[in-house]
């Protein structure tokens, strides 16, 4: 997928670019308002990551220009502003999602993947990975034609892993993804272990290979061995 990151904080966009690049993704970057406007007018993307406070103008202005140009890009607002007004006006203006800083790169990737899936397949998208077929809209998983029955959390976890293939995702990020960041999970993410274990068990019973491995107790990595 082709992604544009409009963000002025160098350290942050470098991390985002390096996390997103690879796996067939193309990432471009604009560091201020003018550059952002220029890029959206000239090119097309699958998804735009938009920071709200930019040098030279407001991020929301870029969003409304994008809508005026009748472009169909998915837009994910990334902002330090937790203000509900901003969130609502962003979503009103046609943004697809809103992520508050600081965020986990894995969460960002999962959200961007979800937006791109929605945009490209109208929600009926199917993710294929080797022997796995995952119908995101219908919430169904097949391993070589054998259906696997997952709970909602296990399914979300699998999609999350697939969005962050070959990346180490922390337990912390996984917990926040599954239960929302407003729940104070008391720093004890060991119960994530149970969910991962159940998921692995169900997948391997249906004949899938084991792609998930634990990384130093920090998190997990979904990758071809």
């Amino acid at each position: 997928m082709k992604i544009l990151v409009i963000e002025d904080e160098q350290a942050l966009y470098e991390s985002i670019l390096s996390y997103f690049t690879g796996d067939g993704n193309i990432c471009e970057h604009a560091a201020d308002f003018e550059a952002g406007v220029e890029k959206i007018e000239l090119y097309s993307y699958d998804c735009i990551l938009l920071d709200l406070g930019l040098p030279g103008g407001e991020g929301l202005e870029i969003l409304s220009r994008l809508k005026k140009l009748n472009k169909k890009e998915g837009v994910l607002i990334i902002s330090a502003r937790h203000s509900l007004d901003d969130r609502l006006s962003g979503l009103d203006l046609g943004a697809d999602d809103y992520l508050v800083k600081p965020f986990h790169l894995s969460e960002l990737k999962a959200r961007v993947s979800a937006i791109v899936r929605r945009k490209n397949f109208d929600g009926d998208s199917v993710i294929k990975f080797n022997e796995m077929t995952i119908d995101v809209g219908a919430m169904k998983v097949n391993i070589d034609g054998t259906p696997v029955f997952l709970t909602k959390k296990e399914f979300d976890l699998l999609v999350y892993f697939l969005s962050n293939k070959n990346k180490v995702v922390t337990k912390n990020a996984m917990a926040e993804h599954l239960w929302g960041d407003e729940i104070d999970l008391s720093d004890d993410f060991d119960f994530i272990y149970t969910h991962v274990k159940n998921l692995k068990k169900k997948l391997s019973e249906a004949g899938a290979r084991d792609y998930v491995r634990s990384v130093y107790g920090i998190g997990y990595k979904f990758a071809e061995a």
Binding site: S15, R81, H82, S83, F103, H104, L105, N172, W179, I183
Partner: protein, 417 residues
């Protein structure tokens, strides 16, 4: 009590008292004057009888004239020189009824005899006069009362209309909506001044609100950006595996600390935003539905600790921000899970105007400071802000949140509205 009611009460009470006192004084004076006049008439009559007796050496006939009767009697005992006025009854032969009267009892000397003379006059006319005067006074009083009440009701209501208009606009004023308070034009200086002051105040409030909001936004932005960088760099660093076991442990510690710092900062910002009433998406919330949603959300956490959940929910809707309602319940649920014992119980009761969350747990040593910021039990892993935020949210909406405990049960009760 309303100002107009208060004013009316004082006004009408004073008027009534003054009128009653006036009436009484009237009555007494007129009564006195009329009695004096009657007495004079009686004296005139007495004089006539004396002159007649002196001239003719006999008593005039004990006759009844119009409204007057003279009778004679013998002096008994030593009633010599008696002369007194008194209130008596007068028998009116024409009307054949007893009327109130005034008598003069005196003695007349006839030869060497003292004759007791009683002259009685009817008081009916003067009584009538007094009655008419009393009636007029009462009518005037009533008319005055009615007029005063009407004036107060209509005149005062009209006079106060601009005041209530301003008041209503003030009630409807929401700082986050950035609207202005425009008063009703009026000729009354006081209300015009009130209008001006209210507008000036609203302007100032709006100005302060804007400044506060932009400060909060800026502070949040400035602190969140480095945090976001640390987070993203950590995520990037993690991708450069393999690490040694030791590096892995270090990374995990840094992750934990960064996570805590982010949450701490978010909580503090949230607190200040609630305090400053910067969250304004109030709408109708179905509490029952929300509690059930939270139960699903926390399902895995309950399972992890083997907690038993009991819920008794009745329908209850309140007006508040959905965002804050979420946070409030999240905090209470988190709290009930975190301070529970393995295999314990959480009981949720939602009745009309009351939500009670109770959980089993250890005895705590911070009961009085339960809702204070950063107060937490020694073994707690939280930041000690959850309940402070809950309290602040409750304050914002006028709910009352209370903590109590009985044995190893801890109760958090919220009185909704």
């Amino acid at each position: 009590m309303k100002l107009s009611t208060h004013y009316n009460r004082v006004n009408i009470l004073t008027s009534v008292i003054v009128l009653i006192v006036t009436g009484i004084i009237y009555y007494l004076f007129i009564h006195l004057i009329l009695t004096n006049k009657l007495d004079k008439d009686l004296v005139v009559e007495e004089n006539e009888i004396r002159q007649y007796t002196d001239t003719y050496q006999k008593l005039p006939l004990p006759a009844s004239y119009i409204d007057q009767r003279v009778s004679y009697g013998n002096v008994t005992g030593n009633a010599h020189g008696i002369r007194e006025f008194s209130y008596t009854n007068y028998y009116n032969p024409r009307e054949k009824e007893i009327e109130p009267g005034r008598s003069l009892i005196t003695t007349v000397r006839l030869g060497d005899k003292n004759i007791l003379v009683t002259i009685t006059k009817s008081r009916v006319e003067s009584e009538d006069l007094v009655r008419i005067i009393l009636l007029i006074t009462i009518i005037v009083t009533l008319v005055l009362l009615i007029v005063l009440t009407l004036i107060n009701r209509f005149m005062l209501n009209r006079l106060w209309r601009p005041f209530f208009a301003i008041l209503n606009r003030m009630k409807g004023f929401e700082v986050s909506k950035m609207d202005t308070i425009s008063g009703e034009p009026t000729r009354i200086d006081e209300f015009n001044e009130l209008n001006r002051s209210v507008n000036a105040m609203a302007e100032k409030v709006k100005q302060d609100y804007k400044e506060l909001k932009s400060f909060t936004d800026n502070a949040s932005h400035e602190m969140m950006t480095p945090l976001a960088v640390i987070n993203s760099k950590l995520d990037s660093l993690l991708q450069t595996e393999p690490f040694s076991e030791q590096q892995g442990a270090l990374l995990e510690d840094i992750y934990q600390a960064t996570g805590r710092l982010s949450r701490l900062h978010q909580s503090l910002l949230l607190l200040s935003r609630i305090e400053n009433n910067l969250i304004s998406d109030a709408r109708k919330i179905d509490v029952k539905e929300l509690v059930e949603e939270k139960r699903r959300q926390f399902h895995e956490l309950f399972e992890r600790d083997g907690l038993h959940i009991e819920m008794h929910l009745s329908d209850q809707k309140i007006i508040m921000s959905r965002y804050l309602a979420d946070i409030l319940l999240n905090n209470l649920f988190s709290n009930a899970v975190r301070h529970n014992i393995s295999g314990g119980t959480i009981r949720i009761e939602l009745s009309e105007h009351k939500l009670i969350l109770s959980n089993t747990g250890k005895t705590l040593n911070i009961q009085n400071r339960m809702f204070d910021r950063f107060s937490k039990s020694t073994e707690s892993e939280g930041m000690g802000l959850g309940l402070a935020i809950s309290k602040q949210i409750c304050n914002l909406y006028g709910f009352n949140i209370e903590y109590s405990h009985a044995g190893n049960m801890h109760f958090f009760s919220i009185y909704l509205g």
